[in-house]
């Protein structure tokens, strides 16, 4: 019996049946078929507990949402304390929490002028694209093939057709896609001078973290400036120290005109996102500040949490820890690749953002399952199932890192077995 006070379920099976009946039958059956039928019950630190009681170490982190782990005690304390004073607030009016958080964010990126808040990454992207259109008075948006920026109207149109066509939300006339790591292709489409923005994840997550070639992003930014197009960095998965530095673009020597962040900004306990714009792009905030409105965007509770998230990320101990974790997995995964070179063929890494490549079109699905069976939860890349997203948190400690590596090693024979049977089936 799973009695939660407000509701109760007899068993995990009971829950799965209800979830399929009332919530999302597609997702319920997908995970069952994938061999990873997780229903997260308790969660604490970097651990998830399935309803069955099985413990999993979380390396999915929902793209960095749980950068500090689940329910980090300090962040929980901040939110609880915030609830004694604030609620979501009234988005029409200036607010202490929003002003303080906006200032805190702008100070992390001094060439930026304003922080515009949303409640999720897609909303922040939406603001970014609208802002670019405002600033350029152009309509076209360029993104990369297999890029991913969210599921709302404009953001979903920048992404893979898997998510747009089903809802008739693809808009090929205005939304153009070019191959990643190909600045020539970008220049082709910018040349007409009618593109408002080029939006790109600093390292494309859902595509499996392919690393930008040396100089690629800088070249894209320069091309944008040459043709009067705004360069937008999507930092939803690469921001917040995940690449070893506060914002991923800083590590590539960029100065985006606009960048967006979300996920971990709310510490995994209160949703908030932000679109950061420079002075030129932020003109609409003077002309008509109410041109974009969001009741839950920039909720004061989220601002209080986000303010603390940034403060924590700026601590020297956290910065040092990120480097230790990154170095540990750089070495550890190189060792694993040597030991399992028949299936494990590549590591893409920057900071604690890792993509592990397996030598099979669905390799990461099998590895994800094998890891799940060995107590580790890491998800494959939706748009390149050869690649496992492997996303350690920024405050992981040395013992847990070692345990993750040991479990990874133990999971490889099972992954090999799954892949063999998969190959036969295919």
């Amino acid at each position: 019996m799973f009695n939660y006070g407000y509701f109760a379920f007899d068993s995990k099976e009971d829950l799965l049946a209800k979830a399929a009946e009332y919530w999302n039958p597609g997702k319920v059956s997908f995970w069952k078929d994938a061999g990873t039928p997780m229903v997260i019950d308790r969660r604490e630190g970097y651990f998830l507990y399935d309803m069955s009681g099985k413990r999993l170490i979380d390396l999915h982190l929902n793209g960095g949402t749980y950068n500090f782990g689940h329910r980090h005690p300090e962040l929980v304390e901040v939110l609880k304390s915030g609830l004694d004073y604030f609620d979501m607030g009234n988005h029409w009016f200036p607010s202490v929490a929003r002003a303080a958080f906006a200032e805190k964010l702008v100070k992390t990126a001094p060439h930026m002028k304003y922080a515009i808040f949303g409640s999720g990454g897609a909303e922040a992207v939406e603001i970014a694209l609208k802002t670019a259109r405002y600033a350029t008075k152009r309509r076209k948006i360029v993104s990369i093939i297999k890029g991913y920026h969210g599921h709302s109207g404009l953001s979903v149109a920048t992404g893979d057709e898997r998510f747009s066509k089903i809802f008739l939300a693809d808009r090929p006339d205005e939304f153009i896609q070019v191959p990643f790591n190909d600045e020539g292709a970008l220049e082709e489409v910018l040349r007409n001078g009618d593109v408002a923005a080029f939006i790109v994840e600093t390292i494309p997550a859902t595509y499996g973290f392919p690393m930008p070639r040396d100089g690629y992003l800088k070249a894209c930014q320069d091309l944008c400036h040459k043709y009067g197009t705004k360069f937008i960095s999507d930092e939803v998965q690469t921001g917040l120290m995940r690449t070893g530095i506060m914002w991923g673009w800083q590590g590539y020597g960029l100065k985006p005109d606009i960048f967006v962040c979300g996920k971990g900004l709310g510490g995994g306990i209160y949703p908030i996102s932000a679109c950061m714009v420079d002075e030129d792009c932020g003109g609409w905030l003077i002309e008509d500040g109410a041109a974009h409105i969001s009741t839950s965007g920039g909720s004061e509770l989220g601002c209080v949490v986000g303010h603390h998230v940034i403060e924590m990320l700026q601590r020297p101990e956290v910065i040092s820890n990120v480097h230790f974790v990154a170095e540990f997995f750089a070495r550890g995964m190189a060792e694993m690749m040597k030991r399992h070179s028949d299936i494990f063929v590549g590591v893409r890494q920057r900071g604690v953002v890792l993509g592990l490549e397996f030598d099979h079109p669905e390799g990461a699905v099998a590895v994800s399952r094998a890891l799940y069976e060995n107590g580790v939860w890491a998800i494959f890349s939706s748009l390149d199932k050869r690649v496992l997203q492997f996303k350690p948190g920024v405050v992981l400690d040395v013992d847990l890192c070692q345990e993750i590596l040991d479990r990874f090693d133990s999971a490889m024979p099972r992954a090999r077995q799954l892949l063999k049977s998969g190959r036969r089936a295919a």
Partner: protein
């Protein structure tokens, strides 16, 4: 008007950032320890040398800051103490190899050193910088990482000193985070970290309460408590030499060391001589009225007046209302009979040395034992040539160091004797501590013993122990991009490369 408009207190409660950051320091130290535990002896010594050099260079600077911040002690003496914890300390332990596996072919035993991991160290207000230096050096030599929690009244200088050593260590190849210091120490913070399962051992130097808390934490601890040293001057001693030792010891850093003599005890027949000798050595020997004034000033409120700690003799005399020569180096109140109850027989941590005398050696011994119970397990001094009495004294006294014909401050701490130089003086079972020696790096390492059966053949010479400790270069080489294999492996060049890479990594984080 709302209450919020009248008070300036925060309207939201804010998590304890100091505690949170201290916990993160422990995590960082665990990372450093993980890498450092396999460093080679050469790499360890190179780091120790670099830290000793850096510490020595700034010994005076930090002595200045320590006295300015705490108001305790004498700058020039603190400088000496700081210096002693650099090259002198390293020289003492240079040949104590805690890194290389040991092979005992005859007993068929191989021993592998296993460092503790993360050392959590408490430092007192009285010797802030010397303790930071000393404990950091112990950690380095034993291949441990250390997080130091300074006394709150000495936090700025302690943090600065620890940072200075940490930078030198890192520049010499140590992992980042090997030496850290808590910036905002507090009692709840110390209790929280002491009880944490992320630390491996506590070294607690401080007051009784802190030491007991360390032992109650559930973690392994090396706790050392306060002292109350008795110096016995036997009639066989040259009184002038003994008096010089006593005055030197008591005036050193204004008696701030826990090893300093608290009481000087002689026989009635020798007391006149002793008074004269002390006077000529620079002491102000108090008459009865002065003695009363001093007692009132130091212990008028029942416990030691903290304002007097580490202050000079003339400073104390002025406040106690005693007229002394400006050249007076110590104050000597005289208690005619060695009773137990006089407050002046307690630990004083200032240049006040209580003189008393016994009718015979037996009474002297009885009194000395009782007095030493207030600083049980600590130190005592003996002046004289009568070795029979020396042995009896040492056998009966509940102390683990008896310094002979030398100043006890510097003697028990290993700077005027051949004892190990230390600012953590083990007070042993008598002082409810797990360690009775002067604490050294060997207390922070344990050994895994590989033991063959007595009657089974064992070829220990064939055992390859090269993987047990690796050179820093090979340990830290990024495996993601392994350096090309070369016939002539240029270790120094590689080490340099890695250092540069680490620096750039740190730079990127700023």
């Amino acid at each position: 008007m709302s209450e919020h408009m009248t008070f300036d207190a925060p309207r939201l409660s804010v998590p304890d950032r100091a505690l949170s950051s201290a916990r993160m320091k422990v995590g960082r130290a665990a990372w450093a320890a993980r890498y450092y535990r396999s460093f080679s002896r050469d790499a360890v010594l190179a780091i120790a040398e670099a830290v000793a050099r850096a510490g020595y260079e700034k010994a005076g600077h930090f002595a200045d800051l320590a006295v300015a911040e705490t108001g305790f002690g004498v700058v020039e003496h603190k400088k000496i103490k700081n210096e002693l914890c650099t090259h002198t300390l390293l020289d003492h332990y240079r040949d104590l190899d805690l890194v290389t596996p040991r092979i005992d072919a005859e007993r068929k035993i191989v021993e592998l050193p296993k460092p503790a991991g993360v050392v959590f160290a408490l430092a007192p207000a009285t010797n802030p910088v010397a303790t930071v230096y000393y404990k950091a050096m112990l950690a380095i030599l034993s291949r441990n990482a250390i997080v130091i929690s300074p006394h709150p009244v000495a936090k700025s200088v302690s943090v600065a000193a620890a940072r200075h050593l940490a930078e030198a260590a890192e520049a010499a190849g140590a992992p980042s985070g090997l030496i850290q210091c808590v910036e905002e120490p507090s009692i709840p913070l110390v209790q929280d970290i002491m009880a944490s399962d992320r630390i491996n051992v506590i070294i607690a130097t401080g007051g009784t309460a802190m030491v007991r808390a360390a032992y109650s934490s559930g973690n392994p601890a090396l706790g050392v408590g306060p002292g109350n040293a008795v110096a016995y001057v036997d009639p066989s001693a040259g009184v002038d030499a003994a008096a010089r030792c006593l005055v030197d010891s008591k005036s050193f850093d204004n008696s701030i060391l826990c090893t300093n003599e608290s009481v000087v005890l002689t026989l009635d027949s020798n007391r006149g001589n002793m008074e004269r000798a002390l006077r000529s050595a620079g002491a102000h020997v108090c008459n009865e009225a002065d003695t009363d004034r001093l007692r009132e000033y130091l212990f008028g409120k029942g416990s030691l007046n903290l304002a007097a700690i580490g202050k000079s003799a003339t400073w104390i005399a002025e406040r106690a209302g005693i007229r002394v020569s400006p050249s007076a180096r110590i104050l000597v109140p005289v208690v005619a009979t060695p009773g137990q109850d006089d407050l002046l027989f307690r630990e004083k941590l200032c240049p006040v040395l209580t003189l008393t005398s016994a009718v015979d050696f037996q009474q002297a011994l009885t009194f000395a034992k009782h007095t030493a119970r207030r600083g049980a397990g600590h130190s005592a001094a003996f002046h004289g040539d009568d070795t029979a009495r020396l042995v009896r004294f040492s056998q009966e006294m509940p102390v683990y160091r008896v310094v002979v014909n030398a100043p006890c401050s510097q003697g028990a701490a290993g700077f005027a004797t051949y004892l190990p130089p230390s600012f953590t003086i083990g007070t042993g079972f008598a002082g409810r501590s797990s360690v009775g020696e002067n604490v050294g790096p060997q207390h922070l390492v344990q050994w895994t013993r590989i033991a063959y059966g007595k009657d089974v053949p064992a070829d220990l010479s064939g055992i390859d122990l090269s993987a047990v400790s690796t050179d820093r270069a090979t340990a830290r080489a990024p495996v993601a991009a392994p350096p090309p294999e070369r016939e002539s492996f240029d270790r120094d060049a590689l080490r340099q490369l890695i250092l540069e890479e680490l620096r750039s990594l740190q730079g990127a984080g700023k």
